[in-house]
């Protein structure tokens, strides 16, 4: 619906435009117009309906048509005003008013006809008066006077129309500047004090009198008009009169009267006094003008009319300028500044003041600089100060343009070589115009900054201030014109200056803007950041360094890796300096706390965390806390990059070794294993050490399972096969030596198929075999025997051991044989010599035989079998000797028995000697060969008792450590 309405309106308005080339009757006339028109039409119609008309009705028609002319002209004027200029140009103005003009002419003709038709008509003067007014209003005033004079000629005495005609004539002559004639008519007119327009006529006549220099009469007229205007029965011309007084008093040279009049008749006469002052000024009356102003100013102050006071001051400025009263002008300007400070000037006042002040200050500026040139560098300092003060006043009044005024102040100082002062004003200008937008503001800023920079180049500021100004100028330059060739050069200069001043945040703002605007200047920007990094390094700002390094690592500005690495190293050094100092002063716990803090601090890159964790680990290690050291070295390894870890590897391997030194074999092995696994496929230093540690230290810790597991890393990680072999052999030896038989056999089962370990396994198995053969561990002995015998079947046994086994077998047979011998001599009811001798010979032969076998066994040199054999032989000789010694022939005479015993005694004695010789022989062997065997006891005197009570000397519980400590 709304659309339709709008469309309709549009159509309607375009229709008007389309038709506007031909003037149309505008129906938008006022209601009043229509009402009047209607009334005129109705009355005209009514009069015309009467038929033949008398002069009175025709006069009436004449008047109605005169009114119609007015309405018609109003209507035509509206059409004219709304017509396009092209049409006006084309048709001419008269064309638009042709109807009213036609009606005017018709009315004039009708008037003339009526007068001619009815020459004695008593209202003939009235017809002339109508025609006079029509002439004045529509006919170009050409015949106005003519018709008015006709009115006076034909009017009856006392007719009011005479007063009206004279008033019109006075006004006519006033307009035609015929002041004397006008005064003359007014003299008659103002006689009629009952005319409510009396005041107006007085006023009008006063002006005529003024023109005729009759100032006193004129002032008198005005005073009368002013007084009558107070009466509501009269038209008030008070305002016009008050305005006029100023002119009249001035022209009449009655200044003090004028001031008194205004002050005496008006509550607030300031406007009129101002007007009067202006007039005196125009007349060149400086003293009078100042009097008026003074009075006016006094009144304004008295009434606290702030705005009026300003107006007066503004007037003063104008006047003093014109009268070249510069001191007064300056005083007034200062006063104006004070007023502004109390309450702001209105926009109009501000514009007025600004223009006036600017005008003068420009003039003074030129004078100052011209002076300087003329005097070869000297200038009027007072004037100079005034100029600057004027700009200050302007800045107060026209605060919006304060930047401009400060710029101008700067320029003024610059022109006379006051560069420092100039710089201050330029700086203020920039500051004041900081938030302004638009081309004008931008142009001013550019001019100001250029001048500012020029100033800095010319003046010998102290460095601090010079730098401060330069920074200010540069900062604003890049701020307002970031993408600008001059700014492009400024970025680096400003940045360096800011950094030198320690203004890092500001330098970073500069850098960021440069980086954002000119990404292509990466090389320069790298240099800038390098400078920044140097600054951070110097100031030991680790947090900032870390943040930048993090950016570099993400590729910011394309810094090369070696630079990043160097930065990281420096960052580390800075971060660690403090804690290293703690370390040096022995406060390791504080140092550790620091490193741990760094590790946990999210701001730092992994490399620092890795190094921190490593340092903490090392310190814990120095404090012998391997558990914590290991925890931290693990954390360190998680954060370290592979290449860094590789560099650190020798130290880490050293740490592993140190764990073992600190008795923590488990962590030593774990660290070694971790490192070995990490570098499994690489050729790195101390790899073999790591491998050995990973295995051996688990073994030391009693963790055989882990040790065995880690042995697999040897081959997997490319450790030299000889190293692997050597370590495995050491493991075999260790397990056997420490009698870890379960682990030994487990390892044996895993490696028994590997030929390279056969000799090692067999050597230890043989040792175990002999060890368990002569001590109490039959089950172990049996299991070892099974393995060895199995090898024997496969002909895999070492030759020495095969021989030993053969000796063993021989000994067993020998022992079996010997133990089976029962050295018994036959018993008879009556001793049978022959049978006895046979039996004795058999036993001795048997003894000889086992002696031979035994001595053959002794010659083999196996220590245990030798001792056992010696012992067996010793015992057999003892047994034989005892058997012979204790034998008594039964049923024989005493002499025989005595002889027999004597004879047998010699034999048993020999046998005993032989037995003893075996004992001493064994002891000789024992001592000579330092044999440590429990079989040694078989050859001591108390052997039987020792065996009986199972006495063992507890040597292993009596032996002593050696420490070279204690009492020296």
């Amino acid at each position: 619906m709304k659309v339709i309405i709008l469309f309709t309106l549009f159509t309607f308005s375009t229709g008007i435009l389309a038709q506007s080339k031909t003037p149309v009757r505008n129906d938008k006339m006022s209601e009043r117009w229509h009402t009047l028109n209607k009334l005129i039409n109705q009355e005209t119609k009514t009069i015309k309906s009467i038929g033949r008309l008398g002069p009175k009705l025709q006069h009436r028609l004449l008047e109605l048509n005169s009114e119609r002319i007015k309405l018609l002209k109003e209507q035509e004027n509206q059409v004219f005003l709304s017509s396009p200029k092209s049409l006006i140009k084309q048709k001419g103005k008269a064309w638009f008013f042709r109807k009213s003009m036609a009606l005017f002419k018709q009315v004039r003709n009708d008037g003339h006809k009526l007068i001619n038709q009815f020459p004695r008509f008593r209202h003939k003067a009235g017809i002339f008066y109508t025609l006079a007014l029509n002439e004045r209003d529509y006919g170009g005033d050409k015949k106005t006077e003519f018709y008015l004079l006709k009115v006076l000629q034909h009017a009856k005495k006392g007719d009011k129309i005479i007063h009206h005609a004279k008033t019109s004539l006075a006004e006519y002559h006033y307009n035609k500047k015929n002041y004397k004639t006008a005064i003359s008519y007014y003299n008659d007119v103002v006689k009629n004090t009952k005319d409510d327009w009396y005041t107006k006529h007085l006023y009008n006549q006063a002006w005529c009198l003024l023109k005729e220099r009759q100032y006193d009469r004129g002032i008198e007229n005005l005073r009368t008009a002013f007084e009558y205007s107070k009466n509501p029965n009269y038209v008030s011309v008070k305002d016009q009169v008050l305005e006029a007084f100023a002119v009249f008093f001035v022209h009449g040279n009655q200044i003090s009267e004028g001031i008194s009049f205004y002050l005496g008749n008006l509550k607030d006469p300031t406007d009129y006094l101002i007007s009067m002052a202006r007039k005196t000024a125009n007349k060149g009356l400086f003293k009078e003008t100042r009097d008026i102003i003074s009075a006016s100013l006094g009144k304004a102050r008295e009434l606290e009319l702030h705005s009026k006071e300003i107006d007066i001051r503004l007037l003063e400025l104008e006047i003093y300028r014109n009268f070249k009263k510069f001191d007064l002008h300056f005083e007034t300007s200062v006063a104006l500044q004070e007023l502004q400070r109390k309450k702001a000037l209105s926009p109009e006042q501000r514009d007025d003041a600004t223009n006036k002040l600017k005008s003068l200050v420009n003039y003074l500026q030129v004078r100052v600089t011209k002076n300087r040139k003329a005097s070869g560098g000297d200038y009027d300092k007072k004037m100079m100060n005034e100029v600057i003060s004027y700009f200050d006043i302007l800045s107060t009044i026209d605060e919006e343009n304060k930047d401009s005024y400060n710029f101008f102040s700067g320029e003024t100082h610059f022109a006379v070589g006051n560069y420092k002062e100039a710089a201050d004003f330029y700086k203020s200008s920039i500051e004041d115009g900081m938030n302004k937008k638009g081309k004008k503001a931008d142009d001013l800023r550019r001019k100001t900054l250029n001048s500012f920079l020029a100033t800095l180049g010319k003046s010998d500021f102290d460095k601090k201030q010079g730098d401060e100004y330069t920074i200010f100028a540069y900062e604003n330059h890049i701020k307002f014109w970031p993408k600008d060739e001059k700014s492009r050069k400024i970025y680096v200069k400003l940045y360096n200056l800011q950094l030198d001043k320690g203004k890092v945040d500001e330098a970073l703002v500069t850098f960021n803007l440069y980086n954002k605007t000119y990404k292509q200047d990466a090389e320069i920007q790298r240099g800038m950041i390098t400078h920044l990094m140097d600054f951070y390094i110097k100031s030991k700002n680790s947090v900032a360094l870390a943040q930048w390094i993090e950016k570099f690592e993400k590729g910011f500005l394309g810094f090369k890796r070696d630079y990043v690495e160097k930065a990281l190293a420096i960052l580390g050094q800075i971060l660690f300096d403090e804690y290293e100092a703690y370390e040096k002063s022995g406060k390791k716990d504080l140092a550790i706390k620091g490193y741990e803090g760094l590790y946990k601090d999210e701001r730092y890159p992994d490399k620092i965390k890795a190094q921190s964790a490593y340092n903490a680990s090392v310190l814990y290690l120095e404090m012998a806390d391997t558990e914590k050291s290991y925890e931290w070295v693990k954390s360190s390894m998680q954060k370290h990059q592979y290449s860094d870890l590789e560099k650190l590897l020798p130290k880490l391997a050293g740490m592993s070794e140190r764990y073992a030194f600190l008795q923590d074999f488990k962590r030593s092995a774990l660290l070694s294993k971790t490192l070995l696994a990490k570098f499994c496929k690489n050729q790195v230093e101390r790899k073999s050490d790591l491998y050995i540690s990973a295995v051996h230290h688990h073994l030391m810790d009693g963790d055989y399972r882990s040790a065995a597991q880690n042995t697999k890393l040897g081959t997997a990680c490319g450790i030299d096969s000889k190293e692997v072999e050597k370590l495995n052999k050491q493991i075999i030896g260790h397990l056997a030596s420490h009698r870890h038989y379960r682990e030994f056999f487990d390892f044996y089962n895993k490696h028994k198929s590997e030929e390279i370990y056969f000799d090692t396994f067999s050597a230890h198995l043989i040792n175990i075999y002999w060890d368990t053969k002569f001590t109490s561990n039959p089950k172990l002995h049996k299991s070892v025997s099974v393995i060895l015998m199995n090898w024997k079947k496969q002909n895999k046994l070492p030759e020495v051991f095969t021989k030993n086994l053969e000796f063993m077998e021989q000994y067993n047979q020998f022992e079996k044989l010997v133990k089976g011998i029962n050295f018994e001599l036959p018993k008879f009811k009556k001793f049978d010599q022959e049978k006895f001798n046979q039996a004795l010979e058999q036993n001795l032969t048997l003894l000889q035989s086992i002696t031979k076998d035994g001595e053959a066994l002794i010659k083999q040199g196996h220590k245990e079998m030798t001792l056992l054999t010696y012992s067996l032989l010793e015992k057999q000789y003892q047994r034989m000797a005892k058997a012979i010694e204790t034998y008594t022939p039964a049923g024989m005479p005493v002499e025989f028995v005595t002889g027999f015993k004597k004879h047998m005694g010699q034999l048993s004695g020999n046998l005993k000697e032989k037995s003893v010789s075996y004992n001493s022989g064994a002891r000789t062997v024992i001592e000579k060969n330092d044999i440590l065997s429990f079989n040694n006891f078989k050859f001591i005197k108390t052997h039987q008792f020792v065996e009986k009570v199972k006495y063992r000397y507890p040597a292993s519980r009596l032996v002593s450590t050696a420490d070279l400590g204690g009492d020296q």
């Binding site: 379960r742 089950k779 044999i931 440590l932 006891f937 108390t942 292993s956 519980r957 032996v959 002593s960």
Partner: protein, 295 residues
């Protein structure tokens, strides 16, 4: 099945007891090894050593008092500056040896040796101690080799240990030779006297043996091994009642060999005492005398 069998073996082998005999010598002039070993120091002497100016010796004194953790911790704290010190490693090894952790003891004694070797030094102390480890592992020949090598430096401890080893294996001639040599140096040392007493006992020279046993200070006579050996001597000298009392005074022991020996000896002594009693009873009956009231 095989695993179970092996496990049984393992348990059997590792269950050996390794308690040392408690010999606390109060005065250094009665301790032939006084300047070489703190093993036989009395508690008083060890407590004094805790404040020794050498922190390593102070540390190891804790281990001799069976506070191994404290001793080892103190040693750990003293590692810095002692890595190249063979004595340091010897002390660590000693603590582990005393704690019966023979693998670690062996590791550190070897480390002591290799450290000394790098400095082109011989370190007999560690050799001696490696001998102890081997002895504990029942590798007697190896132990003897270490003692022989160690004694070349002139320290007495390896000789002392060698004496013990020879005695253990009945090499009485060599044992006696060493015992006399040591007695010549310090005739008050209880273990040297015991060794001589034992040698004579094993040789069957009980009277001489008894004389040596009588030289042993009374506070050591109840040591389990001494009381046992002395009782044997007394038994052989027919002093059955004295033998019984000596045996009775002997300290309780966990050492099975000594325990068994004392049990066996006690039976023999009791048997003899019974026999004597029976003989006396028979004699009394024969003479008609009544036993004294106090009898």
């Amino acid at each position: 099945m095989k695993m179970m069998f092996l496990l049984t073996l393992f348990v059997l082998v590792t269950s050996c007891s390794t308690h040392r005999l408690d010999t606390q010598i109060e005065k250094s002039d009665s301790d032939i090894l006084s300047g070489e070993s703190m093993l036989r120091y009395s508690e008083n002497r060890l407590e004094r050593i805790e404040k020794h100016k050498n922190p390593l010796i102070a540390a190891v004194s804790h281990c001799y008092q069976k506070d191994y953790k404290e001793g080892l911790d103190q040693l750990k704290k003293n590692l810095q500056g002692n890595i190249e010190n063979p004595s340091y490693w010897n002390h660590v090894g000693t603590c582990y040896y005393l704690e019966d952790k023979l693998e670690k003891a062996e590791y550190y004694f070897n480390l002591a040796l290799s450290t000394a070797k790098k400095q082109k030094k011989k370190f007999s102390v560690a050799e001696n101690n490696l001998g102890l480890v081997q002895l504990r592992l029942r590798h007697y020949d190896k132990a003897l080799d270490f003692f022989k090598s160690a004694e070349k430096s002139g320290i007495l401890t390896p000789k002392f240990n060698k004496l013990q080893l020879y005695l253990q294996f009945g090499q009485l001639t060599k044992a006696k030779e060493l015992a006399y040599e040591l007695e010549g140096i310090n005739s008050k040392d209880v273990d040297v006297i015991v060794a001589l007493a034992t040698i004579y006992m094993l040789e069957g020279n009980y009277k001489t043996s008894e004389n040596y046993f009588k030289r042993i200070p009374v506070q050591f006579l109840d040591r389990e091994d001494i009381s046992g050996a002395y009782a044997i001597v007394q038994y052989h000298l027919g002093k059955y009642e004295e033998a019984r009392l000596t045996l009775q005074k002997g300290q309780y022991t966990q050492i099975s060999t000594i325990k068994n020996m004392r049990k066996n000896l006690k039976l023999l002594i009791e048997r003899e005492l019974e026999r004597l009693k029976e003989e006396q009873d028979a004699k009394r009956l024969k003479t008609g005398k009544r036993g004294s009231r106090a009898g």
